[in-house]
């Protein structure tokens, strides 16, 4: 009897313990803490003001604040954005998972938080998860339709998904709410896609002017201005922009790459190699590595070129293992270098599914053409030009496809247009285009 009572008692105690440990009653998100409040909001605003362009200092301050008070949503979301900014500045992608974790933490505490939602949208964009980015952008818009930034996320995602009217409408709305470097730059890109290079330059100049005081953003706008100069065959002007960018933000990988492109267009290949190598050392994006290989090959360093091309394979493996959708870039490289053409086509198709933009059209069309499916390629190539984008490489691809289909007059015409736009559009293909025009 006594023993049984003991067993019964033990069972009851066990049940109680399980209950206490169990999930149903566990909750720690009780009363709001002081950190949710406003002095931090004030400080954060002021702090942001002070450290404009000094992201590291800002990050350190926010980390210290959060170590003291982890439930400070304002600090969490600001830190998440600062991490994202840090990736822009350094290319150090190890900040992505951190930003992800921190922004989700903010969102877990405030499910309808604007900054965290938009920040995650921005992160999704960076990771090429465009559909998710679009969803997050729309969610952010439902939280605040009067905040310009949400239209940036929506527009960027729409753009990469090939939904151009929606993207342009979002950019217009963004610029109407708040003209700023962010909205000017997007309007500029849209204009560039529409083939209105001059107007694109004007908008980007406004962006640069509105970015004064934000070093990385300013450098970025200068790089974009330089690239616009390059696409219209003005490498000297491009070089000046890149120099301003590097002066504003020393070691900026985008500017190093841009400098290399401009130097290559000017025929200074050795200098170009030096700059591109510096860019690759900082951030080995596949397009940088590929270009470096091409440059090495062009100056006769074939062993070095082969090393870079080998590195592309490594990067490809890593990206696949990480689940990153960079298929289009890798496919473009493979197709350009006649590596593994069938595989490249599969990659291009996969990439196209995730990113059905004119870039996707172009790469898929090019991959099809180089695999001998020129008829099918033609449709994609035409689609890639549907906005009227003045992009010499796309025009060249279109010409090559025409040649493949034995339409030599059309081919010559497209080659001519490509070269007229930018005689140095590609270290690999500009010579082919030149030959095509004369033949």
């Amino acid at each position: 009897m006594r023993a049984r009572l003991f067993i019964a008692g033990t069972a009851a105690a066990l049940a109680a313990a399980v209950l206490a440990l169990g999930g149903a009653l566990r909750h720690d998100n009780g009363a709001a803490t002081a950190g949710d409040f406003l002095p931090t909001a004030v400080a954060e605003q002021l702090q942001r003001g002070f450290s404009a362009g000094d992201t590291q200092a800002e990050i350190a301050g926010l980390q210290a604040e959060l170590k003291a008070n982890r439930s400070n949503v304002k600090a969490l979301e600001t830190l998440g954005l600062a991490y994202l900014q840090r990736v822009r500045e350094t290319g150090d992608a190890s900040y992505y998972p951190k930003a992800d974790g921190i922004l989700h933490e903010a969102l877990a505490q405030e499910p309808h938080d604007l900054i965290a939602t938009a920040g995650l949208g921005q992160l999704a964009l960076a990771r090429h998860q465009f559909r998710r980015a679009l969803a997050l952008g729309r969610q952010a818009k439902s939280i605040s339709a009067t905040t310009a930034g949400v239209y940036g996320v929506i527009g960027d995602a729409s753009l990469e998904l090939g939904r151009y009217p929606a993207a342009f409408a979002a950019f217009d709305r963004m610029a109407a709410i708040k003209p700023s470097v962010s909205s000017y730059a997007r309007v500029s890109y849209a204009r560039e896609l529409l083939g209105r290079t001059r107007a694109a330059e004007q908008a980007m100049a406004l962006a640069a002017s509105a970015a004064v005081g934000e070093k990385e953003a300013y450098a970025w706008t200068r790089v974009q201005l330089g690239l616009l100069e390059l696409t219209t065959g003005r490498p000297r002007a491009a070089l000046v922009q890149m120099r301003v960018a590097l002066q504003s933000f020393p070691g900026y990988a985008f500017a190093l790459d841009g400098t290399a492109q401009a130097q290559a267009a000017l025929g200074r290949l050795q200098t170009a190699v030096r700059y591109e190598r510096a860019a690759v050392d900082r951030v080995p994006l596949p397009q940088y590595v590929g270009f470096l290989g091409d440059l090495e090959a062009a100056v006769g360093h074939h062993a070095a070129a082969q090393r870079e091309y080998g590195l592309i394979g490594v990067i490809e493996k890593l990206l696949a293992a990480n689940g990153v959708r960079n298929d289009l870039d890798v496919a473009l490289f493979d197709v350009d270098h006649s590596r593994n053409l069938a595989h490249a086509l599969r990659l291009a198709r996969k990439g196209y599914a995730g990113r059905p933009s004119i870039f996707g059209d172009d790469v898929l069309g090019w991959a099809l053409a180089r695999n001998g499916h020129c008829g099918e390629a033609l449709g994609y190539s035409n689609r890639s030009l549907r906005l009227g984008t003045k992009d010499a490489l796309k025009l060249f691809h279109r010409g090559w496809i025409a040649a493949c289909l034995h339409r030599s007059a059309a081919a010559r015409s497209f080659y001519r247009r490509a070269l007229a736009l930018n005689p140095h559009f590609s270290i690999l293909w500009a010579p082919v285009a030149r030959k095509g025009v004369t033949s």
């Binding site: 069972a11 066990l14 499910p111 309808h112 729309r138 951030v283 080998g310 890593l318």
Partner: protein, 442 residues
């Protein structure tokens, strides 16, 4: 039972083979660590270089000559004593190529550099110029016993509040010591395959090669992991226990519960995986949080109410027949069968479907690695482990309840225990729902 499960889980964790993982700081980082210390009267530097996959590939293409590396490192590391730069001489090195992600390797090079003698306490200034333009963890410490934040590039802090360290210059004071001469790492420590303390089920799927042994190990680990996972909050243990106490639970019921849990959990994860992949484009999951919680809460409430009303009726119609029917423990529960089965299924579902992210992570990781079948297999094992835990808890409850049942029915505690259990279920559900409701945005 619980102890066995935990023991099992620990064993599994220990047995689980080291898993190749991507470099935690990104696959193109070059990470540096320098410890400047004094052994006797001699200054030494222990320098560690940890290259992620891309720089390792680049380095190996050119051929890795550790001597040349050591010389270069010694040149690039500026150490000054009392303001005067001192020469450093490489005296030993160790090189390893730990496995990285995607069949690639990383590289770990350790170099011991010997400096001049230190006669008395002197100020030291360290400035590392090696790989200045490369991203990565940059750490310098002075003194043999100073803690390294990264454990000398063995374990990078995972904290969301820790930026990659960026120390390239450091000042300190050094004095003669009786410390031994710094040594190189060996074996596993040098190979250092796991740079972060990330233990968990999810890494099982990331295996480089799948030998039969690896698969077997993985399955066993998944099983144990599931079992352990059931003991973490949120898996309906409370509800299962309360349910079995509240109804006339038998061991067979407990087993059935386990089965239902396994099945629903497996189906659930598969379904969720599919839905997740399909819907990720259109829905921002965070907005669903509150709704999901509400649905789960209401489900639990309804189970509780069903049990409660059952008890109520039972209490009135056969308050004295109970013990005759179930004392044998062989499930003579025909008169209760319809309600019991439904209840069991519902409880099983709530046990099997309450949030279990690890399993889904595994599935999606498997999909992304094109190892869907393996991932599914792991999930079945995981679910089974989960269910066995829940069944175990259920059995304890059943056994305990039998102990009660043999007692005199006159005790009010015993009489009301089932009703109390049912109330507990309802209460738990109400609390879950109430917590979820304020988050709803309609």
């Amino acid at each position: 039972m619980k102890r066995i499960v935990i023991l099992g889980a620990i064993t599994a964790a220990l047995l689980a083979p080291a898993v190749a993982q991507a470099h935690p700081l990104g696959n193109f980082t070059i990470n540096r660590f320098a410890r400047v210390e004094v052994s006797g009267h001699r200054l030494y530097v222990r320098y560690v270089l940890d290259l992620a996959e891309i720089p390792t590939y680049q380095a190996r293409q050119q051929g890795v000559d550790p001597e040349a590396y050591a010389t270069r490192i010694a040149r690039g590391l500026h150490v000054s004593l009392d303001g005067h730069r001192v020469p450093l001489q490489p005296v030993a090195h160790a090189l390893a190529f730990p496995r990285g992600v995607a069949g690639l390797h990383t590289m770990r090079l350790e170099v011991i550099l010997r400096g001049p003698t230190v006669a008395r306490a002197e100020s030291v200034a360290v400035h590392d110029t090696n790989y200045a333009d490369h991203l990565g963890w940059k750490e310098i410490v002075v003194g043999a016993h100073t803690t390294s934040l990264s454990d000398e590039l063995h374990a990078y802090p995972k904290s969301l509040l820790q930026s990659p360290l960026d120390t390239t210059s450091l000042n300190g004071v050094l004095a003669p010591t009786s410390d031994p001469v710094p040594r190189l790492s060996r074996a596993t420590s040098l190979e250092a395959p796991d740079r972060i303390a990330e233990s968990g089920f999810t890494r099982l799927v990331g295996h480089g090669q799948l030998s039969a042994l690896v698969i077997l190990f993985s399955l066993a680990a998944a099983l144990f992991w599931g079992a352990a996972h059931a003991l973490s909050p949120g898996h309906g243990k409370t509800i299962v226990t309360a349910y079995l106490v509240g109804t006339r639970g038998t061991p067979r019921h407990a087993a059935l519960l386990g089965l239902v849990t396994t099945v629903t959990h497996t189906i659930g994860v598969f379904a969720l995986g599919g839905v997740t992949l399909a819907l990720s484009a259109f829905i921002v999951p965070e907005t669903l949080y509150p709704w999901i919680n509400v649905v789960a809460g209401l489900l639990v409430v309804s189970v509780g109410i069903v049990v409660l009303t059952g008890r109520w009726r039972a209490g009135h119609t056969h308050s004295h027949g109970e013990s005759e029917h179930s004392h044998d423990g062989h499930g003579h529960d025909h008169h209760e069968a319809p309600h019991s089965t439904r209840g069991l299924v519902a409880v099983g579902i709530s046990g099997g479907l309450l949030p279990c992210p690890s399993a889904l992570v595994v599935l999606l990781a498997a999909i992304s690695l094109h190892r869907v079948a393996f991932g599914m297999l792991l999930i079945v094992a995981f679910s089974f482990g989960l269910a066995s835990s829940i069944t175990g808890i259920g059995l304890i409850a059943v056994v305990a309840k039998r102990a009660f049942r043999k007692l005199s029915m006159d005790s009010p505690v015993i009489r009301f225990l089932p009703a109390v259990s049912a109330l507990v279920i309802v209460l738990a559900g109400v609390v879950m729902t109430a917590r979820a409701v304020p988050g709803l945005r309609i």
